[in-house]
Symmetry: C2
Subunit: 597 residues, 2 copies
């Protein structure tokens, strides 16, 4: 089985030639020292870690899984050593606050690093991704003393962190949660309750685990406006700052799951554990939302990374596996058969995976750049504009990356026939591992509802209009570019159609709020189709430009144009079906009687 190799050339292309990251960094004070060379060095070093340290533990981690014994979780063989290598490289704090030991790198770079780690070993990658996410919540909402004490220990990986949201009866609907927080009269709180589905709730990788827990204060209003956020260490730090006495936090069980078996998914019990309020009382959900845009983007990257890994394996297999003959005559007449790449349907599957994941990668950098503008750009107007894009695009990115990532893993597996179904080639594991990204961090149905409801129908800030502007000014700038005219025509038509469907949805929802939910998933898919088309147009423009440079790697850039054309002709027609499905309305969805399901 081919091990994961980071697609560095493709990543350089997207980061430098499509997104022009170095120019963006140079223009912002917080990232002025992030040069192209520095970014390449980061990518190079991440690639080495991913392929040499994480990838070799991917299958063994799946086979062995996590072990739960007497309240402790043991990660699979090799994970502790890999965690040490990962943390010693400073990767947990890659985007961390430099004031507290973070490296302050831009998100548009970090998305590529995260894609690599997820592609090489999703189970492993989740431990530090969760720590990075929790750290971000602390950066925005914790007191200076908490930040000064905890952040350096989290960025170094010495301690790790979790997010404790879900309870057995409260998943999507966090307003139902029951975990209680009672003031202990000393400025801290006693936290009591049980949480489920806690990624990395307990494990043996770090010296301490810091839980960010959503809970209710005694006088809190019911529902989502009565939830506060608490920091609850597994072991309370002692006077020297080392993990001290245990704090009434225990792991009751780990889940047995379809995939990501080396990631510990824990049932966590808090029995009067000491916790510290983070941010304002009753504003816990808002504190969580701050980091959610980052976190959702990271989870989407799991889909892209695993699809990339699966594509690498399936492409190598298809180049070598001899079976059947080309319809147009043998290409390998001396051999017993031709490589299966002669079969158009094998190509169709692999090109579909490639077209989706490369556009997804470009979009992840695009959204990453918008997050960086929000964070680093001193200009309030540019900041506000980027914030609108982030709000609009985050749910689309999370759902589209993970949906297409899963589909990509399934397609790549299919190219191997029976060999894709057995464990040996690793592609069945990728399918199982990729599946979770469609579910956690808000199911893709929840992402679609957030998009169609909050971001489209109830939007007052012009989120969609900001995106339309971006696409229109791109088209404007390319008005005289005749070489790619067909791609631009498709983009223009897709834009017009998506605008029209969006208007329809806003009007229809005014008459019946169920139109939002009935349209949401196909609407998200339609908008993602437009965005992927936009990304392929941007990549085609960058490739055309590069081809005019002497000494350019012609084959590489021509491949981009070939896949762009494939995407336009083979994958874009689905927008007509999606538009028709949406506009058929909610009547047929709501008609079936609930008790007859």
């Amino acid at each position: 089985m081919a091990a994961y190799q980071a697609p560095l050339t493709d990543m350089h292309f997207v980061l430098h030639e499509v997104q022009r990251a170095a120019e963006l960094c140079a223009a912002m004070p917080g990232t002025a020292d992030v040069t192209a060379d520095l970014m390449d060095a980061v990518l190079e070093s991440a690639a080495q870690l991913a392929s040499e340290v994480l990838a070799p533990l991917n299958r063994s981690g799946d086979e062995e899984g996590c072990r739960f014994e007497a309240g402790r979780v043991h990660t699979p063989a090799g994970f502790r050593e890999a965690y040490r290598a990962y943390t010693e490289g400073g990767w947990v704090g890659l985007c961390g606050d430099p004031a507290h030991g973070g490296q302050g790198m831009p998100k548009m770079l970090a998305v590529l690093v995260e894609e690599m780690m997820m592609g090489a070993n999703s189970s492993f990658a989740l431990y530090p991704v969760l720590t990075a996410g929790a750290s971000l919540a602390l950066v925005s909402h914790a007191s200076e003393s908490i930040k000064a004490f905890y952040l350096p220990r989290l960025y170094s990986g010495e301690w790790s962190a979790t997010m404790c949201l879900t309870e057995a009866h409260a998943g999507t609907d966090l307003g139902l949660l029951k975990t209680r927080a009672e003031p202990d009269g000393q400025g801290s709180y006693r936290i009591t309750g049980s949480k489920i589905f806690i990624t990395g709730g307990e494990h043996d990788l770090s010296d301490n685990i810091i839980h960010l827990v959503l809970a209710r204060l005694p006088d809190a209003p019911a529902g989502p406006r009565g939830i506060s956020l608490f920091l609850v260490p597994r072991q309370l730090p002692d006077a020297s700052g080392k993990p001290g006495v245990h704090n009434g936090v225990s792991c009751g069980a780990i889940e047995h799951k379809m995939g990501i078996k080396a990631s510990a998914t824990c049932v966590m019990h808090f029995d009067g554990a000491t916790g510290y309020l983070i941010g304002e009382a009753n504003k816990g959900l808002a504190c969580m939302f701050t980091m959610m845009n980052y976190e959702r983007l990271s989870i989407g990257l799991q889909g892209i990374g695993l699809a990339e890994h699966s594509l690498q394996v399936a492409s190598a297999y298809a180049r070598e596996r001899l079976q059947g003959r080309a319809a147009t005559g043998p290409v390998n007449p001396a051999g017993s058969a031709d490589p299966i790449l002669v079969h158009p349907d094998v190509r169709r599957m692999l090109l579909t995976v490639r077209a989706d994941l490369e556009a997804g990668r470009a979009l992840s950098v695009y959204v990453g750049a918008a997050l960086d503008t929000v964070h680093f750009d001193p200009d309030p107007q540019r900041q506000a504009r980027a914030a609108r894009l982030v709000a609009l695009l985050t749910p689309v990115a999370k759902a589209a990356f993970s949906d297409r990532g899963f589909e990509g893993c399934v397609n790549a597996q299919q190219a191997l026939g029976g060999h894709g179904y057995v464990r040996e080639w690793g592609l069945e594991q990728n399918v199982r591992d990729a599946r979770i990204a469609q579910i956690y961090e808000g199911t893709n149905g929840v992402q679609a509802l957030d998009l169609a409801g909050r971001k489209v129908v109830r939007d007052q800030e012009g989120l969609l209009e900001t995106l339309w502007e971006d696409i229109e000014s791109f088209l404007q700038a390319q008005a005289t570019n005749a070489a790619l005219k067909e791609c631009f025509l498709e983009l223009k038509a897709a834009l017009a159609q998506t605008r029209q469907v969006s208007d329809w949805l806003r009007q229809a929802a005014a008459g019946n709020p169920d139109e939002i939910g009935a349209a949401s998933v196909p609407y998200l898919r339609l908008l993602s189709q437009l965005l992927y088309c936009f990304m392929w147009c941007r990549m085609a423009v960058a490739a055309t430009l590069a081809l005019s440079r002497p000494g350019a790697d012609k084959a590489f850039y021509e491949d981009k144009l070939t896949v762009a054309r494939f995407f336009m002709t083979r994958q874009m027609p689905v927008r007509h079906a999606l538009a028709a499905e949406i506009k058929s309305g909610c009547a047929t969805v709501m008609a079936f009687p609930a008790e007859r399901f």
Copy 2:
């Protein structure tokens, strides 16, 4: 977790009211005694076996898997007892030749029984399904003495059977296979070679295992026209007809797979094993093709059965799980939240699963009825006509049932959120088990190529035209039925579009044979869309008729009309995307250089 329950009411509806099975049976001498009551008794008894004996072993079988020790395969706990119950019920020989102890039941009934067994426990069901398939090959091609000796033992389940086709280097391309068969001078042969992916190649359920093996005679021409079929018992029968000495057949290993873990997928070695030629020398592939239409249909049913099971679990969950509130106001104001069925997107997912699986079930009975006409109808014209339908529809049924079955299992899993990803609810197992049906018995890509190439472009018998006739005469008969006008308009439009695309494909392929493979998968999907639309129209007609009967279960029949409308408005628009994708041609698929994949 809800256990599988056979959907008997839906099955009765499809069999009796949509397909009018009893009338068809009464009109053919071989099935004249198969009354509606008899069929219902068969279904009832199969349902009991599926839900009471097979379903309880589904999850434990997955957890335990098969164990390989010293050349022997041990099936999971309870499988031997279940196999005894299954075989004592005579289920292996349900469609078997009555001259040799089979029950001679029609396939249109058997598809429903197979769907139940697959839905309750796919791993288990594969053992007898393989025996039934091998028996069918013997019925058509073996000598009278072989039939008389082996068939009763296979129908009773005392012995089981396998199909040994694939070799490590010869999967889809069986022409490459190398297993040798040398005459031993006594009328039999010495078989030598290794086979992989042999379902039930070794296990502890039956007293003997009879392998049907494809191999080459010494003087055989190269390629697919030099392959012969041999019967190779694991143990040679002794004088009393009992399993005697071992016959140079051994199991080298079992595969570790994504799913169907309780089904033993074996590497089989034949070391000069004694085998008996079945059918003519060098006509082995043709002998296999006889049974392939039955076998492929059975494998498709795995998708329908598992989607049905998943839908049952997800529907029960969605009725009970309280989370969030209806967009139009609370429906459960006294409770903490509303059942998630109030959310349009949950309904959309579950209705999609339902619409696909009910149309699939109706199509399975339709194809089953065509197989029965070929087998039982004495009229050569009706026989020939039905044979054309079978040839056309088998690859569509296998691929569409298994593709939509997998998608259905994924959608149902999604409705449970995180609870769908953990093992507890069983839905992640269904996803893993359903995945194989898209791969084995000819991958769905191979089915699509068979359809687009052999059955459409190179067809000389008017296969498509036979289907068009069926649909047109249905539409003709309903010309004055105004109540379902919208459904019929959609069917008419889909028919016109599919015909037009078929004509396009035939012409395009004349210019470039790669057009076949480039179009094949979306073409199969398009044709299946037309067929599912046809099935929903037939079901709607039957439901309307039933609603006019006094005392009819109004709710049941109205549900059919509701789902039919859902299918027409929400699922049919995809045909436009498929048509556009196909007609974009093969250029963008073939342009990417092979060495750059």
